[in-house]
Symmetry: C2
Amino acid sequence: MAASRDPRPCSIADALALVGEKYSLLVLREVCLGNARFDQLVRNIGAPRDILATRLRRLVDAGILTKRAYSERPQRFEYLPTQAGLELEPVLMTLMAWGDRHLRGDDDRPMVLEHVCGNELRPVVTCAACGDRVRHDDVSAHPQAPGWTVTGPSAA
Amino acid sequence: MAASRDPRPCSIADALALVGEKYSLLVLREVCLGNARFDQLVRNIGAPRDILATRLRRLVDAGILTKRAYSERPQRFEYLPTQAGLELEPVLMTLMAWGDRHLRGDDDRPMVLEHVCGNELRPVVTCAACGDRVRHDDVSAHPQAPGWTVTGPSAA
DNA sequence: CTCCGTGGGTTGGAAAATCCAACTAACCCG
DNA sequence: CGGGTTAGTTGGATTTTCCAACCCACGGAG
C-alpha cells in the first residue's frame, strides 16, 4: 500500500502504509471501544471476513494490536490495542469530529463522547508547549531530510 | 470505498470514505504545505498520474479542495484546501506525531513543525471544555443511534 | 516555421486487491 | 446424532491500481 516510488520521506506516509488500508482504522475504532472478537468486528465494520483476517494479521505484526486467547478449548481469540494502538485514538477522535462537523449535522451524530470532566468531549489539537489551539497559520514546517520542497506560507 | 454493508453509522467511516483512499491524505498534506500543482503532487506523493487525477476530482467534488486557474493561456490549475480541507490538518498532525514516535526515532524525523510560540510543535489532543489532555480511560462513548454495541470500559 | 520542453492530464492493458458465498475446523448443547 | 457458535480459509468473479505511452496547448530557441 505504500506509495511505491514516493521520493519523500514522511511519517504521515509511513503511518498510512500501516493503518491507511481499507478497514484498518475501523478495526482500531472497534478494539478501542472494547469490541475485540472476530465476528463482532465483521458485523460492526462490515468488512469481508478474509480481508479482515489479513488486516488483523498486519496490525498484530505491526505491534498495533495483540492477539490473545480468551478461551482454550475451544480456542477463541480476541484482539486488543497495544500502547501504540491506543495512541492512535487521537487520530480517530479528530477524524470523528471532522466527520461530525462536515458530513453530518449536530442532530445527526451517531455517537457522542464524554470526558471525565463532565462535559461532552470536543477534541482540539493544541501545542504541548504553550497550550494554545493549533491554527494553520501558526505553524511552520522545517524539513529535516532532503526531498522536501515547501512552497507555501508554511515554509521554514 | 465505503464499507458497503456497514451496519454501523459512524462519522469515522464516513470521513474515511472521503479521504481514506490511497493517496488522498497525502494530497492534503501537500496542498496544506502549499504544493498545489499537478506535477508537484505527482512527484512529491509518488502517485500514478491517473489515480491522482481521480483523487483530485473526488476531493474537489467533496468540497475539500478547490481547483483554481493560476494561468489562462495556457490553462494551468492549482488545488487549494477549502476550510473543510484545512480542518483536516489536525488529523495529519496527530498522524505525523504518531509515525514519528512509533515508526522512526527522534533523530530520524523527516520534518519538524514549529509553533508561533517559538517551541517545536508537539500536537496533543485536549478536551475543549476543561483543557486537559485526553486519555483513553477518561472518555466514555454514548451511542446516539441504533447499531452500536460498546462492550468495553468506554461503555456509556 | 519547426523542434523541444513543460504542465496537465487521458487511455489501454497487465497486475494486484477486493468481494462474496461457501466451506472447514473445533467445540458445546440437547 | 443434529444444530449452533466462533474463527477463520478457499476459489473465483469483480474492481482498483499501476504503468507506460499518448495527447493537447502553449512558450521559447533556432
